[in-house]
Amino acid sequence: MSADTIFALSSGRPPAAVSIIRVSGPGAHGAGRRLAGSLPDVRIAALRTLRDEAGGRLDDALVLRFDRPASSTGEDIVEFHCHGGRAVVDAVLSALAEIEGLRPAHPGEFTRRAFENGRIDLTEAEGLADLIEAETEFQRKSALAMAEGGLKRQIEQWQKRVLILSAQAEAAIDYAEDDDVGTDPTLAKECFELARELGEWLGRPRIEPLKDGVRVVIAGPPNAGKSSLINAIAGQERAIVTDIPGTTRDQIEVPLSLGGIPILLTDTAGLRESDDTIERIGINRARSLVEGADVLLWLGETKEAPGHSRRILVHPRADLAERATAPEGSLAVSSVTGAGLDELLARTSELAASLLPDEGAIALNRRQAAHVAEAQGALEAAAATNEFVFAAENVRAARVAFDRLTGRAGMEDVLDSLFGRFCLGK
């Protein structure tokens, strides 16, 4: 039996101290080697640098390998214990998705495989049923109810358009003789138009930054005043500190709400050249964090600032006499007197806001985006083909993608649309 290889974030939603990404299936070990270079011995955790296809560094992670059938799913498994930031997790998941033969797991699919391969005992599974129910029910509700029905309406509107296109194509096939329908040349045009519109939506900000926070990273050389700044911001009246996790590793993450914008403020290790092994790991991690930052607050020398598209140059410790004047383009800030803090927060939240869906706008989450992207691809293919039946087939694929998104099974809907719009049948 050839099963797909599946992957998913198996621990809770980031940010968290550690995020566990699990890959299961015949291609799991191959995928593990693609990302980690090599895999450790079975059941031995080892540190590896994860890299994407282009060699870009994703994270340093603990990697574990399990061989079938002695694994939780009964299949070959690789686990990546990454740093629990959203950007890191996203990057690793994206890199996995790039690998041929891998696909994101459906809800409950790991459990399902465990079951199929006899890895879960029966009483365990009975209890899991409730859990699966709760989780998926929550996902379904939250996905559709989120924007007070706005997203639902938008999706329904797309779905309706796809239905009409599908009905049109099906009618031309099943009612070859009726003069009410023909192989309508506008079908391709409308498929193209809808695909373009879906593409536009896919290019918009996703819901995840809204839910998980915009990652604002504070970086600079050691003793630049990063920690003081983070404390000052966290202590600011206008910034509400919602939770402060311990300094679990080498970074502090402070989720806070800045003028209603969710922010994940991250402190990093000081950046400098070092011979110390432990420190070097921390520095490397800090560099990765800088790269993955949504917004970067740089506290070092202007000329040493890393390139970043959303960067604020900060001139810290401006209360000190010798640092009273900030260089051109740098914002003078004092964690002691609070000078410049308001300005810094305003500029930060302005940059962060650009990453979020507009207020009141409807955003897709990753799952929804995947289905919409599938529909978009199918509609593009439908618009591009000259074979009518292929066009119909692709429109059907688009319809199925929407059905999966909304959980509706579709044939009857097509027939309703078909017979409602066209006068068919002898």
């Binding site: 809800p107 199929e116 009975e126 129910e133 070859a176 059907r396 017979f419 006068c423």
Partner: protein, 558 residues
């Protein structure tokens, strides 16, 4: 003692009886009148898009319909020629008399014993069917196929006239209907209609658009029996504003709109009054004038099925160009009838409650000869299996339209008469009318339901497929054309198969499964899916409910 008894000698009954006989069963075919065998009670055509696919599939199992159609074809058209081989639909106009005599001859050849009698009641003992009470005494049997069409509480409407009974001039069997209803199988009422029959000699053909028969000769059956019947042309007439006005002014006399008919009619075969009402902006509808036979002056005006009063029918027809002087030989009418909920059937078409009792054809809520015949095949093959302890023959969605239909019926049920359409087949590109032998040939041979000549043809076909010259054949070219899509479908099918291996025990109470809501339990209870895959295709069943069901099914199985 019969192995298999079949009640009803329509399209489903004849195929069921002959199929059971081909598997070696002693079969009795019970009918009111011997001349009902092969009767085309509605339009005189066989096949079409989707329907033609069914006939070709039936043919691979040595079914009768394709061969009878070849012997009676007076007009042939391959529909959808321009849209690619997957959706091309072979369709014939058949000479009614030739078709009936061809079918009677094929039934006679099959060794089926035709018993002219009225079926009164099923004999059921210990949860299984053991025989049939008829007006001529009791007949014992091991399995029984009910293929009685619209016999359940049928009512005929012509305007404000209402008659009890099946088709016009046919008898309805009341006692048996009462028994079936008593078993709790009947679900609701459906409606179907038929157009008036015209005297072709009173039609002015010269002013109508001619629809010629295809020039190339092709056959419905893969066994060409060499019979060449002369070909006739059909013609297309069109309704106009005046026609619609006449129809509209008689809405109050239509049993459809006056509320006398409560059954739901098929959306895809609306009556002309329905078309005029629902599509008020259309200024014209097509009428296909189809001759009923070589030596028959009757013409079937396809497209104007109606239950309006006879005088209105005549008036609106005469407003159509070419039909100004037309004589209506028989007015059109609507039939309303009760049907059985096909969700009470297994995928073999055996009832879930009574062992050995099979139902096939229009009684299951389908419409069309081809749909009926294909169910007849499935029921007949499996009734023989039941009686003689042979392997069941099951059809699946990936390899046949028969499988699509049976799966749709037994899983989703029907809310309107079910008609085959290619849109219903998700593996449409693989299910072509031209590759039925490839898809089903081996299954037919394994079912031991084909005669030597058919077996040779199937084996020969697979030998030719293995040769390098195959890619030059029409079927080979079509294989190549669809190959990329077929690979994708193959992968989808693997996922389906994984789910299909998870069987749901028949006694599982859905409401007792942890994590399944009341609403989901109800949906599942109605459909009684046999596997997880089937459950996943029930309308409205959520992924969450499926997960819970999966866990429950696996636990129970272990």
């Amino acid at each position: 003692m019969f192995d298999v008894l079949v009640i009803g000698a329509g399209h489903a009954g004849c195929e069921a009886a002959a199929a059971a006989a081909r598997r070696g069963a002693r079969v009795g075919l019970v009918t009111f009148r011997a001349k009902d065998i092969g009767q085309m009670s509605c339009n005189p055509s066989i096949g079409g898009v989707g329907k033609g696919h069914l006939v070709r599939e039936l043919d691979v199992f040595d079914g009768l319909m394709a061969r009878a159609a070849d012997r009676a074809a007076i007009h042939r058209r391959m529909l959808n020629r321009s849209k690619g081989p997957a959706v091309q639909g072979p369709r014939f106009q058949a000479d009614r008399r030739l078709y009936r005599s061809a079918m009677a001859a094929l039934v006679a050849e099959s060794g089926v014993e035709v018993l002219v009698a009225e079926a009164l009641a099923l004999r059921i003992e210990g949860g299984r069917v053991t025989g049939l009470h008829t007006c001529a005494g009791v007949l014992g049997c091991r399995a029984l196929v009910v293929a009685t069409g619209t016999f359940l509480d049928a009512r005929i409407f012509v305007g404000d006239e209402v008659q009890e009974g099946g088709r016009r001039g046919e008898r309805a069997s009341g006692a048996l209907a009462e028994q079936v209803r008593g078993m709790g199988l009947a679900q609701g009422r459906l409606k179907t209609g038929t157009p008036p029959r015209l005297d072709g000699r009173t039609i002015d053909w010269s002013c109508l658009e001619e629809q010629p028969s295809d020039l190339d000769h092709w056959t419905m059956s893969s066994l060409d029996e060499g019979i060449r019947v002369p070909q006739l042309a059909c013609a297309i007439a069109r309704t106009n504003g005046r026609t619609h006005e006449i129809i509209r002014s008689a809405f109050d006399r239509s049993p459809l709109f006056a509320g006398a008919i409560e059954g739901r009619g098929p959306r895809y075969c609306p009556s002309i009054e329905d078309k005029v009402k629902r599509f008020a902006d259309r200024d014209s509808h097509q009428i296909f004038l189809e001759p009923e036979g070589l030596e028959d002056h009757l013409v079937y005006p396809n497209g104007v099925s109606t239950s309006l009063p006879a005088d209105v029918q005549r008036a609106f027809l005469r407003s159509v160009e070419g039909l100004e002087r037309v004589e209506v030989v028989r007015p059109g009418y609507a039939v309303e009838y009760e049907f059985v909920d096909p969700r009470r059937l297994r995928s073999t078409l055996e009832t879930t409650d009574i062992a050995g009792l099979f139902l096939a054809g229009q009684i299951n809520g389908t419409t069309g000869y081809e749909e009926a015949a294909a169910q007849g095949l499935a029921a007949g093959l499996n009734a023989a299996a039941h009686a003689l302890a042979l392997d069941k023959v099951q059809f699946d969605r990936r390899t046949s339209y028969i499988g699509v239909m049976i799966d749709d019926l037994t899983l989703q049920g029907v809310s309107e008469p079910y008609r085959m359409m290619t849109a219903r087949a998700e593996y449409r590109l693989a299910l072509r009318a031209d590759n039925a032998t490839t898809r089903l040939g081996m299954a037919a041979i394994e079912a031991k339901c084909v005669k030597d000549r058919r077996r040779d043809q199937i084996e020969n076909h697979f030998e030719r497929r293995a040769r390098s010259t195959w890619s030059d054949t029409e079927e080979g070219k079509a294989d190549f054309l669809y190959a990329p899509y077929l690979e994708r479908q193959e992968r989808e099918w693997e996922a389906v198969q994984r789910d299909a291996r998870v069987t749901i025990p028949a006694w599982l109470e859905f409401a007792s499964v942890p994590g399944i809501s009341t609403e989901m339990a109800e949906r599942l209870e109605h459909a009684r899916p046999e596997t997880l895959d089937q459950a996943s295709r029930i309308r409205g069943v959520t992924p969450a409910a499926l997960s819970a069901l999966y866990v429950a099914a696996s636990r129970r199985a272990a």
